[in-house]
């Protein structure tokens, strides 16, 4: 899904990206069998300074997509252009150099910090790896970074276990911005945190974006957080994009039945609204990404398919893969895209 923007505005362009993980049959003779199609042909571009939200349920491939676009995983197919340059499959010294411009913030603030290293060492790692000495020395720079993300610079010699979850996430963020990258993929950066701390970290990420002119790809399952932080939102299901649109447009007027079901399922902290609300319930579970449904991957759970379509229309859903079509400012992969019959929020 590409949008037309002047080339200079586009920092990242992804075309038909695929990431398949090989699987093997069980038993004595382990033969290669059908791969897990975690990401199966997604295309999009990210503009400089914007935040693209990638939202979907567990197993939809959103984290794999984030990792693959940073070359933490090698793509199976498709291409990734960064600032107009093809970076698909770069490795070694070239990739290391690229890391000064692209970084990642991880979900788990416990697992992503080495418990045997001090905070000072962790945040200084990017400088060590790149062989860069900032003006004023590494220690001074690390301490100023710590201060910037809201940590006490005197805690330079402490270890991760001495910090709370929210503080650890700040450490991870300090490390990610240390080299002043241009693009950061944030993979569920706040989902492990308590609500009151979540808001602190979201605000910090927004401040840093303005201050350092950052572009974010923000991967999350929480639709409320995604709405708050994103300029544009892509909704993923079984390795594919279902709908991409500007944030306000997507939330006010979702056109894909999956987007509509997702939004209608978000519990709202307001009992009166909650009691009046109708839900678009999805039946069943996520199908296997090893053997995804034919035609539209969503048809097995699609409420529109189940309730609104005729026999001939259904046949189209089960046999023909929906192409991305442009409806207004939306890009939707659905043969029968259209507004929901009820208010989804």
């Amino acid at each position: 899904m590409t949008t037309t923007h002047p080339e200079s505005d586009v920092i990242l362009e992804v075309k038909d990206l695929q990431k398949h993980f090989p699987t093997r049959t069980s038993g004595i003779i382990r033969r290669a069998s059908d791969p897990v199609k975690a990401v199966d042909g997604i295309s999009f571009s990210v503009n400089r300074g914007e935040t693209l939200g990638l939202v979907g349920e567990s197993g939809c491939g959103k984290s794999t997509a984030g990792r693959t676009m940073l070359q933490l995983l090698e793509p199976t197919g498709g291409s990734i252009h960064y600032n107009g340059r093809d970076i698909t499959g770069v490795h070694g010294a070239d990739l290391r150099k690229l890391r000064t411009e692209m970084q990642m913030v991880f979900q788990d603030p416990y697992g992503s910090l080495n418990p045997r290293q001090t905070i000072g060492t962790i945040v200084a790692a990017p400088f060590d790896i790149q062989g860069i000495t900032p003006d004023g020395g590494v220690k001074a720079e690390v301490q100023s970074l710590m201060e910037r993300v809201g940590l006490n610079p005197e805690h330079y010699n402490r270890y991760p276990h001495e910090f709370s979850g929210g503080q650890r996430q700040r450490i991870g963020i300090a490390r990610a911005v240390a080299l002043r990258p241009k693009l950061i993929v944030c993979d569920e950066p706040v989902s492990a945190l308590d609500v009151s701390i979540q808001a602190q970290v979201v605000n910090l990420l927004e401040d840093l974006q303005t201050e350092y002119d950052l572009t974010y790809v923000f991967v999350a399952h929480d639709l409320s957080v995604i709405r708050h932080i994103s300029d544009r939102v892509a909704v993923m299901y079984l390795g594919k994009f279902m709908e991409v649109a500007d944030r306000d447009e997507l939330y006010a007027n979702p056109l894909h039945p999956y987007t509509q079901a997702l939004l209608s399922a978000v519990p709202i902290p307001d009992p009166r609204k909650e009691n009046k609300r109708e839900r678009i319930l999805l039946k069943g579970d996520l199908p296997s990404p090893i053997n995804p449904p034919s035609g539209c991957v969503f048809h097995t759970r699609c409420p529109r398919f189940r309730e609104e379509l005729s026999e001939t229309e259904r046949k189209r859903c089960t046999t023909e893969i929906p192409l991305v079509q442009k409806i207004g400012n939306h890009e939707v992969a659905c043969h029968f895209a259209g507004a929901a019959k009820i208010d989804v929020i």
């Binding site: 609500v195 009151s196 979540q198 709405r227 519990p267 307001d270 009992p271």
Partner: protein, 350 residues
């Protein structure tokens, strides 16, 4: 609802918790995980306990289930269920009640189900413990019926499968089937949907509401997600640092909350049902230490409305008046709290 709990000695609630305290001795000192909790719960009613990590909400549910027995934890106060103090029961008496009268739904179905046994065997076991004389065929039929009621398709086949063959949502349904197989009178659901995707969460919450109607059970739902309790709870208790800070009906909690911490919780979450804010309003600082909690009001270190000079927020411990109909553990006088809420917190759409 009248007062938070009736005057002493007159409670006829199904569950009556009075001044519950749970402490854990550790090398660093005594952890006061739950520090004086009082509430009532009637049959058919749902209580939502809301709080962040370390607020004591899960420890409370474990105390009711008697899961601190045989550990170093010290449990004080009283937990009366159906007129019997659960803390005074012999292990054997408690064992008979647990699973039959009081059941629990855990957050993570994968670690709560045994990977070695089929889902059916685990539910059958839960039933047979309390119905020893039932015939094998009858038990199996009952369990298949239960799996069907919780919405597991093809239960005749599913009953003989192992937990790893179930998806996350199906496992949570199986756990609910296990918890409800004996038609318990009290169900404790500890973050029952936190591990689930939002579309599955909606299914599970609807399922719990339906099943509650069937068996008229009382439910305690423990969660950090105010959206989840908005859908389910009749009354809500907000916990902070091991204590209740605000208690009331769901309407009171959502439409006229009075504790600054409750305000903070409601304000810090981004809301898809409201105008998008340019900036989120977090609660500053971090949750309190349970070993050496802040002096005075435990929340004063993070509270935007503290007034040490006039109210003594940093020195005086505020009370939770259980004879109030909407108790609030805060030193700010009630009229002033209401005024702050009306002028600074309430949004036009609420």
């Amino acid at each position: 609802m009248s007062t938070w709990v009736p005057t002493e000695g007159t409670s006829d609630a199904l569950l009556s918790v009075r001044d519950l305290k749970v402490t854990f001795p550790t090398e660093d000192g005594l952890v006061k995980a739950v520090n004086g909790l009082t509430f009532d719960l009637n049959a058919g009613e749902t209580l939502g306990i809301v709080g962040e990590s370390g607020s004591g909400k899960s420890v409370t549910s474990q105390a009711i289930m008697g899961l601190h027995r045989g550990t170093r934890a010290k449990v004080e106060g009283s937990i009366d269920f159906d007129g019997k103090n659960l803390l005074k029961l012999e292990d054997e008496e408690l064992r008979v009640m647990r699973g039959r009268d009081i059941a629990m739904i855990f957050q993570d179905p994968l670690s709560a189900l045994h990977p070695y046994y089929t889902v059916g065997n685990q539910i059958i076991e839960a039933y047979k413990v309390h119905h020893g004389s039932a015939s094998k065929a009858a038990v199996r039929a009952h369990v298949i019926d239960m799996l069907e009621r919780v919405g597991i398709p093809n239960p005749q086949k599913r009953i003989d499968q192992y937990p790893h063959e179930f998806s996350g949502g199906m496992r949570q349904r199986a756990m609910i089937a296990m918890a409800l197989v004996n038609s318990p009178r009290l169900v404790i659901a500890d973050e029952p949907t936190t591990a689930l995707d939002v579309t599955v969460q909606a299914q599970i919450l609807d399922l719990l509401i339906d099943l509650q109607k069937d068996i008229n059970a009382a439910i305690i739902i423990i969660t950090h997600d105010l959206g989840v309790v908005a859908e389910m709870a009749d009354k809500i208790m907000v916990m902070y640092g091991g204590k209740a800070v605000e208690g009331g009906t769901a309407d009171q909690t959502f439409y006229s909350p009075e504790h600054p911490y409750t305000w903070g919780l409601l304000q810090s979450m981004p809301r898809i049902d409201r105008e998008r804010l340019d900036r989120l309003r977090p609660i500053p600082g971090n949750p309190p230490s349970l070993i050496s909690p802040p002096s005075g009001c435990a929340f004063h270190t993070r509270c935007a409305y503290r007034d040490d000079e006039n109210l003594g927020c940093s020195t005086i411990v505020p009370e939770f008046d259980v004879q109030d109909w909407h108790p609030v553990r805060c030193l700010i006088p009630a009229p002033k709290r209401k005024a702050i809420f009306d002028t600074e917190i309430r949004t036009p759409s609420s």
